[in-house]
Amino acid sequence: MSEVVRRVRGGGGWARSSPRPLGVALPPVLILTLLFLYPLALVVQQSFQPGTAYGDVFASELFRTALWTTVWIAVVSTLECLVLGFVLALVIAFVPFPGARTVARFIDVYLSFPSFLITLALLFIYGTTGIVGSFQFLATPWGVLLAEVTYFTPFVMRPVLAAFSQVDTAQLEAASSLGARAPRIIRQVILPEALPALAAGGSLVLVLCLNEFGIVLFTGAKGVTTLPMLVYSKAILESDYPGACVVAVVNVLISVGLYGLYRVVSRRVGA
C-alpha cells in the first residue's frame, strides 16, 4: 500500500498542485530570463559580431594557453580535492579524535569564506617577503593549484561526511568481526556508500574550478591566465567586448558541457 501512496506523491492527485501550475511557475522564469538568459543570449550574439571572428581568438597564443591552463588546473584540482576530501572525511568519521566535531563544523564555516582569502594567505607564506622567502611559487600554475585544492576540498568533505553519517556502524563492526582489515572495509563498505556524494561534490568542484576567478586575480601574476581571467582583462582592461564575449562563450560551453557530462556519468555510477 505504501508503494501506491508514494506513487501518488509524484503527481496524479490534484490536492498538491494549484489550479494552473504552469502559470504559477511563470513569474520566476520570467525574472530569470530577463536577468540571466537574455543577457547570456546577448553575449552569444555579440561574440558573432563581424570584425572579431572566432578564428582570430582561437589563433591567439594567449587564448590557447589560457584554455589549456584552465582545464588542466581544474581537472587536477578536482582529483586532488576528491582524494584529500575523502581521506580527511574518513578520519573525521571513522577514526574520530577529541575535537573531530569541531573540525567538521570548522569545515562548514570555511565554506562561507571567499576563495581569495586563501591566495591572500599564500601571499604571506610564499610571496616575495613571506615566510618561505622570495620563492616565486605563486606566479606559477602550481600556486593556483595549491590554493584551489585548499579552498575546494571542504566542498567535497561536506557531502561525503553527510554520506558517512548514514553508514551503519554495525555494518563496519560486522565486517571487521569477519576479519576484514581497514583497507578492505574502506573499499568494499565505505567507498560504495560515499560514491554518490563524491560524484556530487566532484562535479561541483570541477565547475567551480573552471570558473574560479578570485584566486587567480589575487596572485597578481601575469604568468597564469585562465579563461575567466581572460574574459575580465579583455572586457575591463582592454574594453574589447566582442573578444571577451567569444572567450566567455567558450568558457560557458566548457563549464556547462563538463558539468553536464559529469552529472550524466555520476548518475550512471548511482548518484
Binding site: 500500500m1 505504501s2 508503494e3 501506491v4 501512496v5 506513487r7 501518488v8 496524479g12 492527485g13 490536492a15
Partner: protein, 347 residues
C-alpha cells in the same frame, strides 16, 4: 435519507496499473464500514478517492448524495485521520484543532467553543497549549481525531489509525472510538485496516478487499459465520479449509462423507472455524495424528494431520493433553461447516 458515502464503479489506475477495480459500495449515514484487506488490496486508495487525493479513472464518488468526484479535497468536508496523524508540528494542539475552522473563516468565539468541545470529547482538554512533539503517540492520536471532528464532518475517514500504537494502547483506543461513535451517531465512518480484530470489533459492516477488488461485504457475523470465499474465510478469523468433492451422493472429504449445511453445486472447499472443531467422537468424525500442540491458557490448540491435510482445533484446556504422534479423533457439527465455491474472487 441519502447515503453517507457511495462508490459507483470507481476505478483508479496509476501508470496503467489498476489499483482499485470498479468498486461499488455504499456506506449508510451513521454506519461504520471497515475496509479490510492486505496491503496492496486497494483499500487505502478507496479511502483517498473519498478524501479527494486520487482521481478515479472512471466511476463516481458521492458524499451525502452529492457527486464529489470533481471537487478538490478542500471542498469535500470530510474528516480524515491517517496512520502517522500528520499533526502540524509548528502549531499548538489547540491551533491544530482550530485549523479547519480558521480555514473556513468561522467566527473567533465559535472557534474557541468548538475547539474546547472537540478536545473535551477526546479527553485532551488539558493539553491545548502543548505542541504535538510533547505528546505521546496515543495523545497525538486523540488530537488528530479531535482535529478531524472539529469541522463537524458528515463522514470520518480513518486510515489505519491504530497501527502506530502498541497493542495495549490499541485496545484502549478501540473502545474510545466505539464510544465516540455512540456520541456522534450520525457520522459515517470509513475505517481502513488490515487488522481483523479492529474490523470485527468496530464495524457495522466489513468490506473485504483483495487485489484491487471488493471480495465480499457483510456484517462481521455474516462474514465470520458464512464467508463466501476462501480469501474471506481465512482473512476474517482463522479457518480450516479442506478440499472436498461434491457429487450426487453427497459431500466427500477424501473417502469420508461429511454432513454440511446447504450444498452448493460445484463447491470444493469446506470451511470450519478451529474453535468449532471438537476432540473425540461425534458427527463428521476425522481421524488424525497430532503434529503439534500449543497451550494458550484457556485453550489448547492442536495441529492434527488428517490424511495429509492440516486441521487446527482450538479446544478448552485439557487436563491430559495428547502428545506429539498420538492418534486422535476430531469432529464438527454439520451446521458449523460452510461450503465455499472455489473461484469466487479468484480470476
Amino acid at each position: 435519507m441519502t447515503d453517507g458515502i457511495r462508490f459507483d464503479s470507481v476505478t483508479v489506475a496509476y501508470d496503467g496499473n489498476v489499483v482499485l477495480d470498479s468498486l461499488d459500495l455504499t456506506v449508510a449515514p451513521g454506519e461504520v464500514m471497515a475496509l479490510l484487506g492486505p496491503s496492496g488490496s486497494g483499500k487505502t486508495t478507496a479511502l483517498r478517492a473519498v478524501a479527494g487525493f486520487v482521481r478515479p479513472a472512471s466511476g463516481r464518488v458521492f458524499l451525502g448524495g452529492r457527486d464529489v468526484t470533481d471537487l478538490p479535497p478542500y471542498l469535500r468536508g470530510v474528516g480524515m485521520v491517517v496512520q502517522q496523524y500528520a499533526l502540524f508540528p509548528h502549531l499548538r494542539v489547540e491551533d491544530n484543532v482550530a485549523f479547519g475552522l480558521k480555514a473556513r473563516k468561522v467566527a473567533r468565539g465559535e472557534i474557541r467553543t468548538r475547539v474546547a468541545e472537540a478536545l473535551e470529547m477526546v479527553g485532551m482538554a488539558e493539553y491545548g497549549r502543548r505542541y504535538p512533539r510533547e505528546l505521546s503517540g496515543g495523545q497525538q492520536q486523540r488530537v488528530a481525531i479531535a482535529r478531524a471532528l472539529a469541522i463537524r464532518p458528515g463522514v470520518l475517514l480513518l486510515d489505519e489509525p491504530l497501527s502506530a500504537l502498541d497493542a495495549q494502547l490499541r485496545s484502549g483506543m478501540l473502545a474510545e472510538l466505539s464510544r465516540l461513535h455512540r456520541e456522534l451517531p450520525e457520522v459515517s465512518i470509513l475505517y481502513v485496516t488490515h487488522d481483523q480484530v479492529e474490523a470485527l470489533t468496530l464495524a457495522d459492516r466489513i468490506a473485504v478487499m483483495d487485489r484491487a477488488r471488493l471480495q465480499e461485504c457483510g456484517t462481521p457475523r455474516e462474514l465470520y459465520r458464512a464467508p463466501k470465499s476462501e480469501f474471506t474465510a481465512s482473512f476474517v478469523g482463522s479457518a480450516n479449509l479442506l478440499p472436498v468433492t461434491v457429487g450426487e451422493r453427497g459431500v466427500f472429504f477424501g473417502e469420508r462423507r461429511v454432513e454440511v449445511r446447504g450444498v452448493v453445486p460445484g463447491a470444493a472447499t469446506l470451511c470450519v472455524r478451529p474453535h468449532l472443531v471438537g476432540l473425540g467422537a461425534g458427527p463428521n468424525q476425522l481421524a488424525g495424528v497430532v503434529r503439534e500442540i500449543q497451550w494458550r491458557g484457556a485453550t489448547h490448540r492442536l495441529y492434527v494431520d488428517v490424511d495429509g491435510h492440516r486441521v487446527v482445533a482450538d479446544v478448552p484446556e485439557l487436563k491430559k493433553p495428547p502428545v506429539y504422534g498420538d492418534a486422535v479423533m476430531l469432529h464438527f457439527a454439520p451446521e458449523d461447516a460452510v461450503l465455499l465455491s472455489v473461484g469466487v474472487g479468484d480470476e
